[in-house]
Structure formats: C-alpha cells, structure tokens
C-alpha cells in the first residue's frame, strides 16, 4: 500500500537527515554571524543629492485594518506627494508574518524603489527583505522593527528606552510610587512592545520604585475584545492592583472602556500609549488621567522622507548621517540605523482637545 510508503519516505527523509550529525542552536549561534548589512552601506552618501522625482514607494503595515497603521501610512503617502513621489499602502488583513511575506515578494516583483514595513515578525520577514535589497530596493522599517541586518533604516517612534522609562514614571506619579501594577501588552513577540517592557522592568528596579511591584504582563494580542477580557481577568486576579500600563493603542482603549463601566473606575489607574480620538471620552469621564503617544502622522511623514533620502543617495543608513525630513527638519541616524521621531507626548484633560488623530 503506497501511502504507507509515503509515510516511510517522509520518515526516511527525516531520518536520513538525522544521520548527518547534529546541528544545534549552540553550534549555529557560536558560528560567525551571517554577513553584516549588505553592500549598499558601502556606497558613499551624498547629503546634497536632490530627492529623485517619481519615486515609487510602498507602505506595508502589520495589517491593513489597524486604524493606527492607517493614520501612519496615510501621512506617509501625503508626504510622498510633497516630494513628488508616488506611494501606496498594501497589506494583509491578518497580522501574520507569512501573509506579509507574500506582499514583500509582490512589491519586489513590481519593482519599487523602497518598501516601508512594520514587521509582524522581525526574523520571518528577513529573507524576503534581503531578496528585495538584492534587487536594489531600499528597506525602511517603522513602528515595529525587522532584524537590523535586513533593513536599511528603522524609524523609531520614540527611543525605546525613553518610552519604557517614561511610562513607568507617568504611572508612578499618579499612584504615588506605591502598589501592585500590571502591563497589558499586544502580542508577546511584538518587538517594540518587548523592548519597552524590558526598559520598564529596568526602571522599576530603581530604588524609588521599591514599593511598586509588577505582578503580571498580560497579552491582549492587539485584539480589542481579547484586551477587554484580559483587563477584566487582571482586575479579578489581582484585587490589590493599583495601576495598569498598556503600551498599545488597542490595549489601552479596551482597558479604559472596561474600567469606565466597572466598579474599578477611580480605584485603578490606567495609562499607556493611545490616540487622542480613542481616549478622549475616557479622559473626559476621568477613567484615565494621562496617557502618552507620539504623533503617528509625523511617524509616517518621517518614514516617507527617510525612504526618499535613502533612494536618492542622500544617506546610506550609516550612523551619524543626516537628512532633511520636510517640515520635521533635519534628522540624524543613530546606532544600528535607527532614526528617532522624538520623545512621546503626554495627553491629559487640559490639552487633549487640541488633537485630532
């Protein structure tokens, strides 16, 4: 019977490979790291080169139905019009790395000048991005980074360290440096979230926060309903909880919504990263006192200009190079090709009505 054979073939294949000797994680990681960032970095930057006209760039967000990403991308598309380029947004309807990869491949085939990506998985997108770069396409990651060796630039919304530490400071100020706190994150492998959380933990290690205790990091998967129920669970499981930090726009608004309608309103302090439009109601009804965010429009705008600068040869992605980003002025490339948008801005009842995004 041949399907038995089919199984056998599969097994043999696997076993045959097994016979060749062991390849383990340690043997791979101890080997010299793969070649550092590709040859394009070796090219000479010409800060005075004009921005090329008719550039074709594409934004590839985590998923197209994420409103935050839509704001960022639309600002980037607007920016491209300013410098005479042509930009578009394409992307999958689910936030998975594999569907993003189909799009990277397609964009490569279509021959764009630059791809701007908010990576769903830093490593998974790496191979296809390398292939795109081999064809001369510039890669700029924004919002969520891809592995540094497979992109030219990372436009960071804010210094990760600053985001992490400032969130802790913000909350500590409101709860008087005392009590149990929890974090409501997005997915556990979201690169940006994890970096921030690391810095939060580091900040909490400082002596002035000795009375604050991080009891749980929960994951709402950037899914509104899941974030909502996770908040419920957190508050039940930890009755002494004093504060929650939710460094994700989906999480913080879901948590605010639950708290505003529950008995925990006024007892538990919530802060995090959210957009003013989402949070306005909860600031007004006093569920949330303060929260922070950068301007997502500026992020898209900056990423768009950075891509144009890269393609035009004004920069190569090396540390210390500078480029002009339209109305945002001159920006400098930091370590590992990072460009930082700026410090996060804190919103409260006094200033929230000045913003609309």
């Amino acid at each position: 019977m041949t399907p038995t054979r089919l199984t056998a073939v599969t097994a043999l294949l696997a076993l045959g490979v097994a016979a060749c000797g062991g390849t383990t994680k340690s043997s791979v990681t101890s080997a010299p790291a793969p070649a550092p960032a590709s040859s394009s970095a070796a090219a000479k930057a010409d800060p005075n080169a004009p921005i090329k006209q008719g550039l074709k760039i594409a934004f590839l967000p985590k998923q197209i139905n994420n409103p935050y990403e839509t704001i960022v991308d639309n600002a980037g598309i607007e920016a491209a019009k300013e410098y005479g380029g042509e930009a578009k947004e394409v992307g999958p309807s689910d936030a998975s790395a594999s569907s993003q990869i189909s799009y990277i491949n397609t964009l490569t085939q279509q021959g764009h000048d630059a791809i701007l990506i908010a990576a769903n998985d830093a490593n998974a997108v790496c191979g296809p991005l390398q292939q795109a770069r081999d064809k001369g396409i510039k890669i700029v990651s924004y919002d969520s980074d891809a592995s540094p060796e497979c992109r030219d630039l990372f436009i960071n919304q804010a210094s990760s360290e600053e985001v992490g530490r400032s969130q802790v400071k913000l909350l500590a100020g409101m709860i008087g440096n005392k009590g149990e706190i929890a974090i409501l994150s997005a997915t556990a492998n979201a690169t940006n979230q994890n970096t921030w959380i690391e810095f939060m933990k580091d900040e909490l290690g400082k002596p002035e926060y000795k009375d604050m205790k991080l009891v749980k990091v929960a994951y709402g998967d950037d899914d509104d309903q899941k974030s909502f129920t996770q908040t419920q669970g957190l508050l039940q499981a930890y009755p002494n909880l004093k504060g929650i930090i939710s460094p994700t726009t989906v999480g913080v608004s879901a948590a605010a919504r639950y708290i505003s309608g529950s008995k925990y309103k006024g007892k538990v302090t919530l802060t995090g990263l959210g957009t003013p439009n989402q949070m306005r109601q909860f600031v007004k009804d006093k569920t949330v006192e303060k929260f922070a965010l950068w301007n997502p429009k500026d992020l898209g705008y900056l990423a768009s200009y950075a891509a144009a600068a890269l393609v035009s040869g004004q920069i190569t992605g090396a540390e210390g190079e500078t480029f002009k980003a339209g109305k945002l002025g001159e920006r400098t490339i930091g370590k590992q090709g990072e460009v930082i948008l700026g410090p996060p801005f804190t919103f409260d009842a006094a200033n929230i009505d000045q913003f609309d995004f």
Binding site: T2, P3, G22, T24, V28, A97, S102, Q109, N123, A188
Partner: protein, 328 residues
C-alpha cells in the same frame, strides 16, 4: 456528467486563462522570479492538499491540518531553543503530527464520530497545544543549510526545493489515487462506504491511515514552513485549512466523497495561488481577494450541483444522497 463538462477540466482551462491574462496584462507576472515566489508561497498549502484530497475522496475531512502545522512549528521552535539538534527535532515534529492524525483517526473510526466535528475540536486543541508549547514566543536563527533547503531553488532551475518535493509527492499520490487498489478503495469508500465494507475493503483501517498521513504531511509542512520563514511560532499557518479545502473543492473533489481527480486539485491549488498573485500584482486590495476566494468556493460546489440538478434523474440521486449524508 458529460466528459466535456467535467469540473476539473474546467478548472484547468480557467487556470490557463488566468495565466494567459496575467502574462498579457502584468509584465512582472510571467517572470521566473515571480512564479517561483508564487509557487513557494503555495508550498505548504499544496503539500497538505495532497493528503486532503485522499481524505475528501474517502468522504472525510481534516480541519485540524493548519493547527498540526502550527504545533509542529511550535515543537521545532521550543526544541531548537532547548538545544536539541535539528536532525532530531524534525523527526520528532513529524512524528508528533502522525500522532495528531492518529488521534483524529481513532476518534473517527473507533467511536464513529463525524470527522467534521472531531477535527473542529482538534483544530482548537492542537492550536492550543502549540501555544502551550511555545507560548507567544518566536524562535529564529535556524541553521542556514536547512533554511536554504526550504528557500532556495533546485540548482539550475527556478523551482524551489519545496516545490520540487511537492511535484515528487504529487506524482506518488497521483499514482496511488488513480492506479492502485488502494486508490480504488478510496473512491469506493467515498461513494458508498457500506458497499466498500461489504466488498471486504478494510474501511476503518484505511481511514485511520489517511488521517495519520494527513497529520504527518501537515507536520512536515510545518517544518518546511518554519524553515522557509526562519521563524517558529505557534500561530504559524493560522487558518490555512480553509485555503486547502477551498483548493481541493475548487479542484472538483466532491465534498460528499467518491469523486474528483488529483489533477483537478493541483489545478485548483495553482488557480487560487496564481489568481491571488495576479490580484496582488494588480494592487487589488486584500478585501477583494477575500471576496474572490469565497465566491470561487461557492461557485465550485454550486456549479456541479446545478448541472446535475438540471437532469431530473440525477436529481433523485442527489436528493437521496444529500439526505443520507451526515446520518450517524
């Protein structure tokens, strides 16, 4: 149904039309690079579709394949993280897949449960286990020589290794399905299980085997998937069972069993893949792609029915079969 109206042939024709249209309208469509991308994007779906074809021909279905793929990926990730050799990990992951298939098969054959219900249950169970194994972590940095096996083209051709493997397996499954006694048994089981059983065909054993094969192939696809993306995650392949089933049904395999050809299924897989590729190249949004996939699925089951309903004699058969279907 008349030979000319055979659905699998129509899918083949449709495939040629799409290919022709793509080549004419999009300069980057019919390039080796693009087709190689498009094909390797289909790799796992195509692999799993091979096993699924045999199951559906035998009037069963396995909805848990994508979860088995995820579980296999999670196992690869966590074992790799734990420092095991990849050569040991791969057989373990594949074996785990076989075990998953065995559980499905035992529940279906021993307890006589409908495979639809069983595999909806294991769909949740196996995906859940994948999360339990690896959590929300993503494990990366697999050995380059293995990654390149999953990514690179066979030297001198624009054909990626997984696609070459698929061609090989497809040839085997094609022979099994269409030219061996085992294949004949599958069609007999699918069309009239009792008659097959009365003819001395070991129906339960064969079904059990099919589920094991399905689990094994899905787990193997999980290994390929993990290496190809260089990232092991519990949510890998989430939802691709629907794409697999869509391809199989689009290829003209009757959901009630007993009908369909492997050629049709391969045409179905390619049609879905190339159409998606073409839509993406044409900057057609994801939403429209989803609508097109759904419509294709509905049309693929609707058209053969409407053709057969047009004949009154066949109506009677279809009616009685439709009514028999699903009885415990």
């Amino acid at each position: 149904m008349a030979k000319v109206l055979r659905w699998d042939v129509m899918v083949g024709v449709l495939l040629i039309v799409v290919f022709g249209y793509g080549s004419l309208t999009s300069p980057s469509f019919a390039t080796a690079g693009n087709l190689s991308f498009a094909l390797s994007d289909l790799g796992e779906i195509a692999l799993i579709a091979l096993a699924m074809t045999m199951l559906v021909v035998a009037a069963e279905v396995d909805l848990s394949v994508a979860s088995v793929l995820g579980l296999s990926s999670a196992l690869v990730g966590s074992l790799w993280d734990a420092g095991l050799a990849i050569e040991t990990i791969i057989p373990i992951a594949v074996l785990a897949g076989a075990l998953c298939g065995l559980v499905n098969g035992l529940l279906v054959t021993r307890l006589g449960l409908p495979s639809l219900a069983v595999t909806i249950g294991t769909l949740a169970l196996y995906r859940g286990l994948a999360y339990v194994v690896l959590g929300d972590r993503a494990v990366a940095q697999f050995p380059p020589q293995f990654v390149s096996l999953a990514v690179d083209d066979v030297p001198g051709t624009p054909i990626p290794y997984p696609v070459a493997l698929f061609v090989l397996l497809a040839a085997i499954v094609g022979v099994v399905l269409h030219a061996t006694g085992f294949g004949r048994s599958l069609y007999a089981i699918g069309a009239q299980e009792q008659a097959a059983f009365f003819a001395g065909i070991r129906v339960k054993r064969i079904k059990l085997l099919l589920f094991v094969v399905s689990g094994t192939v899905a787990a193997f696809a999980g290994v390929v998937f993990t290496l190809r993306y260089g990232s092991a995650r519990a949510d890998n392949g989430l939802g691709i069972e629907l794409a697999v089933i869509a391809a199989v049904l689009l290829g003209g395999v009757d959901f009630d069993g007993g009908k369909g050809t492997l050629g049709g299924v391969i045409a179905g897989v390619l049609l879905i893949g190339l159409l998606r590729n073409l839509l993406m190249l044409g900057d057609v949004s994801t939403e429209i792609q989803s609508i097109v996939t759904g419509l294709l699925l509905i049309v693929s089951v609707l058209t053969p029915r409407l053709v057969s309903l047009a004949k009154p004699a066949a109506l009677l058969r279809a009616t009685s079969r439709a009514n028999l279907k699903g009885s415990p």
